[in-house]
Symmetry: C2
Subunit: 329 residues, 2 copies
């Protein structure tokens, strides 16, 4: 049975929602082990006792070094030690990355792991990398994000020849800041990916491509903007609708349609995103994850284990071969 | 009467929509002069004959140098020469900036002009700078954007003490890429602005602050993402609604509410945005501006002239004094 280590103290609504979500996942036949303080009432779920907590605002690398027995670091280490098949945390994203770099280590040749976030576009799911693992990304990192995203889309989403686009501010290769322009050139030269050009922000929810690459700062900003705009817009619409009696009646009638849309676009439907590029599987859940989001993040982690995400990336990453060759030389 | 120079060939729907929008503005008592090729049927609007066209995809600086008699450059030069009070173009944004730098020149001490884009947030209008004048922005540029945005909000939007936020990926000062972290520090040290911290993408449509500053690449990406998400979401909702009979009936009833929302959020309601930091007034309209957008952009330009946007910025920019002092020294 697939065994998932879960950081019981990760996220704004921990531990209550985390524990509740863990129970939901267990009901689906997933083995969950929680990492948290002694005495935590887990409702019968196995608990590995940990000492510290890493807060959301702490500096990742320092926090991971200073708190090796925190719930977050211990849960990540469980994967490295073979005590779990994957880890889920809704805690400090940077700290999950830092703990992953320290204990799971990078796949051969990977410069920077990246968060692959599924965007619920209209026609199909687009994968955005990096969703925020790296604050500063260099152009060559973006090329690796494209390669990892392509392999993931092929292996996990059954897309035969995934189209890759670069997030920029115009279709023309020379549009964008200098890092984006340089990344465009590198992506065009990269063999083994199907790079088809730039995507603009306006294309993101339209399903611009199978894989959309950008730096972690831009990617995280784009995701938050997308999420905030969806919420704000649906709220504003409700406000306008309920301002008149006519609107209120109409609002009741369209409620099922609005609910279908909300569900499709709700980030909690995915619950989390894979951190790709490490020698172990980590799923990062949203900071304000509810029980439902945590349950789905644990299911996502289990699916990733069953589908051997890490193994397939390791096998197919071109960097591995290059590195081996250079070792032979 | 306020006289506005309009680039008749600027934008994807030029010249037809540009000319039609110009007629609408003239009906409001604005004096419009069009810049375009000989023989252009302007329906009676004064035409200054120009020769070349700068295309959307051309490299701005090169195009402006190579085509001094293009409609875009000639319309900008009209302001420098005193033949018009302001210029409106829906053409190549970079080229408007390049022509502005060359012919209008920067206000004393301004390093980089910026596009100040009004965001139709729920409670109030937020001003986002830079909306895309600069592809690469340094932290010190962002401080100037904050200063220009604050003066603009005070003078033009009647906000007594405008709150300024920096667009980032977390509230904490240490979140973001290195340029954003550095900009946060500089903004905190800057006297004369009311810097209250970071804004996240999710806050943008909620009206996070009176002035939101970010680099031109991020700002342009954010605007396009906002615009695309709004369009895509309202389209998706219509699709869901019209999938059932019940929904269709409800859809008819909520139509006025949906229309009010669409109008509020429609970028064409503003039509354009001021390019701040030059010694003359330029309004940049959206590339695919319709007649309505062009009309509103011309009205915006005329309002800017009447309210002396450039003069007030020039008077109040702190850089002017500093520079004068250093000249005296």
């Amino acid at each position: 049975m697939t065994r998932i280590a879960v950081d019981a103290l990760g996220g704004d609504r921990a531990p209550a929602e985390v524990i509740a979500g863990a129970h939901d996942a267990i009901r689906d036949g997933i083995d969950v082990v929680l990492y948290g303080p002694a005495g935590l009432d887990t409702g019968g779920i196995e608990l590995v006792e940990t000492i510290d907590v890493i807060e959301m605002a702490e500096k990742p690398a320092e926090a991971v070094r200073a708190k090796p027995n925190s719930s977050l670091v211990a849960a990540v280490r469980a994967v490295a030690d073979g005590n779990a098949d994957a880890v889920v945390s809704a805690g400090n994203t940077g700290a999950v990355l830092a703990a992953g770099l320290l204990h799971l280590r990078r796949l051969s040749g990977v410069m920077r792991p990246a968060i692959a976030v599924p965007i619920p576009a209209r026609e199909k799911v687009s994968l955005l990398l990096d969703g925020g693992a790296n604050a500063d990304s260099r152009p060559e990192h973006l090329v690796q994000f494209a390669v990892m995203g392509s392999i993931f889309a092929q292996e996990m989403l059954d897309v035969a020849n995934p189209e890759v686009r670069l997030l920029s501010i115009g279709e023309e290769p020379e549009k964008g800041d200098s890092a984006t322009i340089e990344a465009h050139e590198l992506l065009r030269e990269e063999a083994g990916i199907n790079f088809v050009g730039n995507a603009e922000g306006r294309d993101l929810l339209r399903g611009a491509a199978d894989v959309v690459v950008t730096g972690g700062f831009n990617g995280n900003m784009a995701l938050k903007l997308l999420e905030g705009t969806i919420t704000e817009l649906l709220d504003a619409l409700r406000e306008e609708i309920t301002a008149t009696t006519r609107g209120k009646v109409g609002g009741l009638l369209i409620r099922p349609a609005a609910r279908r849309l909300r569900t499709r676009l709700d980030p909690e439907t995915y619950g989390g995103a894979y951190l790709l590029g490490l020698r172990g599987l980590a799923v990062i859940a949203h900071g304000n994850s509810s029980r439902r989001a945590i349950g789905n993040a644990i299911r996502l982690a289990a699916r990733g284990v069953d589908n051997q995400v890490v193994e397939r990336l390791a096998e197919r990453l071109p960097y591995r071969d290059r590195r081996d060759e250079s070792h032979d030389a």
